[in-house]
């Protein structure tokens, strides 16, 4: 009787833990899906995984819990982050849908699928429930080890092979062979002239005497930012800081003060003032 009861329920502590962490996990998952920037999604996912790791431990899968934290959260998610940085998160990943009806279909399918799955689980008669007590009697890791190296040894070997293949495949895919020799300065220059645009070198970023960061576009004479002066990656990420407005504002303020100091009439050309001002 008591064993039955024990079989069907777990400690209240675990219950509390489940409800709290479970909601965290779900929120994390949702954020993974909904965050606009890949970086944020990655972080949310990592959070969810950690929660899952905790659940593994709670379920008596100590080894897996650890592996989850070390391998997944530690290695795989970091790999993700690397790639995100490498690729440069095209923040232009707007959530607006391009394929017509895709999103509604997706939500419909997801909803239906979820409902069905939950319903299925509810419908399923999961009667027998005996904890991993005696299974973990000889220690969880030892138990797993015995199984892996006896019953699942072939699968294990295969996964090894699979991993090696994957590693090599990744290398092959990312490795790029240089087929032709690098172009010399001269050739590049000649090419530029032939193309006819940007015959002079690209403009440098930064605004004279105020900002010199690489992500700040230089200003054209009319005060508009020159996109070309920022490196392409930053451009793609849209991480260009536009200072044209405030630069112009500063200029106006400066002139204001100058006029207040030496009472000048209005009808003098700004340029002259500018030079004169500079002469000071």
């Amino acid at each position: 009787m008591s064993t039955q009861l024990a079989a069907y329920s777990t400690s209240t502590g675990e219950a509390v833990q489940f409800w709290i962490l479970g909601s965290v996990a779900v929120i994390g998952a949702l954020c993974t899906v909904l965050m606009r920037r890949a970086v944020h999604s990655a972080l949310c996912l990592a959070g969810t995984m950690i929660v899952l790791a905790v659940f593994y431990l709670a379920n008596g899968a100590y080894f897996l819990g650890v592996v989850q934290i070390v391998v997944y959260t530690g290695a795989i998610m970091m790999l993700f982050l690397f790639v995100v940085m490498l690729v440069g998160v095209t923040a232009a990943d707007s959530l607006k849908e391009t394929i017509r009806g895709q999103r509604w279909l997706a939500l419909l399918c997801g909803l239906g699928f979820g409902v069905l799955l939950l319903g299925g689980i509810a419908h399923a008669s999961l009667t027998q429930f005996n904890g991993t007590g005696q299974a973990n009697a000889g220690g969880n890791v030892e138990g797993l080890a015995t199984l892996i190296f006896t019953k699942y040894v072939f699968a294990f070997e295969l996964t090894g092979a699979l991993l090696i293949t994957a590693a090599i495949g990744a290398m092959v895919l990312t490795h790029r062979e240089r087929t032709e020799r690098a172009k010399t300065q001269r050739e590049l220059a000649a090419e530029r002239v032939r193309e006819g645009k940007h015959v002079p070198p690209l403009p440098a970023p930064g605004v004279y005497a105020r900002h010199n960061a690489v992500d700040i576009a230089g200003l054209l004479p009319d005060g508009t930012p020159a996109e070309l002066s920022v490196s392409r990656t930053l451009r793609e990420r849209g991480q260009i800081r536009d200072v044209s407005a405030q630069a112009l504002g500063d200029l106006k303020a400066l002139e204001q003060r100058a006029e207040e100091r030496l009472e000048r009439t209005e009808n003098t050309p700004a340029t002259f003032k500018r030079t004169e001002d500079a002469a000071q």
Partner: protein, 99 residues
């Protein structure tokens, strides 16, 4: 508490992941969603192993992790090379399955 809840949670996460795969266009995020689904499965496995009182479920989960790792490696490599060629990581840009 009935540990079946773990299964409910797994199902929920799986569904969320699947939906994410469908609605996100950034390949990396899509991959993350796949990972989410895999993890959901793992949770289910672990729960099952606890129910049945043997470790086979955990073994399967373990293998899943290994495979997932391999898959991530290759997948990310593909994404990188894709990005190299077409300067974008959006899955929609690769709509070459149409003749």
């Amino acid at each position: 508490m009935n540990p079946v809840n773990y299964l409910y949670l797994a199902a929920l996460l799986f569904t969320i992941g699947a939906t994410g795969v469908l609605i996100r266009r950034n390949a990396i995020v899509v991959f993350m969603c796949v990972e989410l689904m895999l993890n959901a499965c793992n949770l289910a496995f672990v729960t099952f192993s606890r129910m049945h009182g043997n470790l086979d479920g955990q073994i399967i989960a373990f293998f899943t992790m290994v495979v997932a790792a391999a898959e991530v490696v290759v997948g990310l490599a593909i994404i990188v090379s894709l990005f190299r060629t077409r300067h974008s990581a959006s899955v929609d840009d690769a709509s070459l399955m149409k003749l």
